[in-house]
Amino acid sequence: MTDPVLSVERLSVDYRSGTERVHAVTDVSFTIPPGRVVGIVGETGCGKSTLAQAIPRLLPEPPAEIVSGHIVFRGTDLVAVPRRRLPLVRGTGIGMIFQEPLNSLNPALRVYDQVAEAVQIRHWRDIGLLPTFRGGSKPFDYSRRPLPETSAVLSRPITPGGAVAEKAQRRLTDRLDAREEVLRYLRLVRIQDPETVLDRYPHELSGGMRQRIMIAMALSERPSLLIADEPTSALDVTIQAQVLTLMKELIDEVQASILFISHDFGVIAEIADDLGVMYAGRLVEFGPVADVFRTPRHPYTRGLLRAVPERYKSDGPLEVIPGSVPHLARLPAGCSYHPRCPLAQDLCRVDPPPALRTVKGSAERAPHQSACHFAEEVGTTP
């Protein structure tokens, strides 16, 4: 089996506010194999976004603090990387798409300038003008297939330490390339009439357009790993569907590994290969998306799935999970889900379950993991 692109190992992130410590992410472990789409779902405030921003170390530290754990990206532990070297990993290594499509674009710059900035970072790192992040001892070829159409410019040979004159020459021709590159990526995200869009400011574009441009910016750096933090949540349902369709098509084209954060099971079911469920800062279940949907191995996942409204069915009221998410600074003893769990027993109130263990009887190649003492029984008990 190939090395994973990203492997998060027992990661814990706290926020300090005054004397209080909020355990936003606790003991989370999962891996993303190359080319795979991993979805993370959970309610508001369960630590999804903290996890997403902790991976490229984007959280402001302080107040956030990585208490323990490792974030191994292509063989390098990002927790150990000094802060000033982190920008080298971002963008071309780990790309990111954010939730707010309006505020994620600089209001003072035209679309061209913003996308070109990303294109140039990739370009300069490729030709060795900017330092870039080289992974661990075994460089991993993440791009199984070069990007169609854009490959010509992007797949230039990497010549670190090349002749100065050659670099200067490339720098001169860089401007012309950038415009073509930007147009290519705008077309890639299915923006019609990209030439006029180039000269627009973000406030002149619709939410869907802005999100497409964000996607174009992230993709133009050809990241090994793309983190999408609720990219469709702030959009209208119809636009949401468009952007989702686009992302599904692009996943096949760009072949990056993707971490897709969402609160919407429907979105995750559309797009993800693996699914992780977070509750109160912990990953409580992880497995192939079909397995998790068919036989949830954690009572929280089961409750969530039953609470999803189904169309064409109206026999009785929707099921809900009683109670609410505990405050992350004051988690209950034992399993943090026990106050709301229909299957809770005495053991659950005192003994916190192990982080994640493979459920007995799941496939070895694609293990289904759960953090419930009674994971095996969840599937069978009604």
């Binding site: 490229p56 984007l58 920008p87 080298l88 963008g91 209001p107 009439d193 869009v197 406030h203």
Partner: protein, 323 residues
Amino acid sequence: MLRANPLTFLGFVLVVLLVVAAVLVVLSPQLLVPYRATQETKAYTVPPTLLRWPPSLVHPFGTDETSFDLYSEVMLALPLDLAIGLFIAGSALLLGGALGLVAGFWDRPGTIGAVASAAILRTTDVFLAFPSLLLALAIVAALGFNLNALLLALVLTWWPYYVRLVRGEVLAIRHLPYVTAARAAGVGELRILGRHVVRNLLEPVVVYFTLDIGTVLVSFSTISFVFGAAIAYPRPPEWGNMLSTFQVNQPITHAWWLIAFPALAIFVTALAFSLFGDGLRDVLDPRTRRALVQSQGVSAAPPPSELAQPTGPAAESAGGSGP
């Protein structure tokens, strides 16, 4: 596009006229200054009261007590006063702005930046604790009244406001999603500061700067006025200084024009920069810029694709002074 708002246009025209006039006065004075003062002609030869002439066709602003043409005197002072305003506000902007960027952008608890930031802010507190005009007066009094002391005093009292202004803007901008997004795209910290933070705080700071030039001129004239009476001839051509000497030598009831015209010069200059600053705000903000262009109907671009839903139809490619 500046014509969209008549007051903005007026401010723009006034500023341009003032700057052009100042340059002309320096380069070829004979065009705008009919009577050139030499040190010799400005000596008292006759009793001053006999030689004050009210405004006339020959002397549009009248003459002063040495029978010197007041219009020439006011025009001669123009380059100096403009240069003083720009120099003081500009120095304060550069010094205070740079310190404000440092104090805002690198102010993270537990870092060297936080220490530097605290040092900068406490220093500004010391300066801000005094009323700025009084502090400037005190500095001038301590150093002795001359042009250099006056400039130094005003720069010293002016920079803390820019620190506060710039730092406040930086603190507001640096946690906005687009800064995080730029960071996530791998943009370096210095580039983020220049392209994403400074570019977005430029608008309020530049507007404040232009408005400030007027304030600086008035303050400079005030200090110059306070100390100016102590100066003997030949006095430096400066509006505040002129007011001061005229006010002492000839009360306003006897020769109103000696007070009115230098004061008018200060007023017009301050007003011009204020209006100009207001207009700049509209021009610098991409949102209102497009609205201005649209209201004028300069150009109507073909309607964009159905995906794009622009708020303004105009897509003038050279949208004014581009970023």
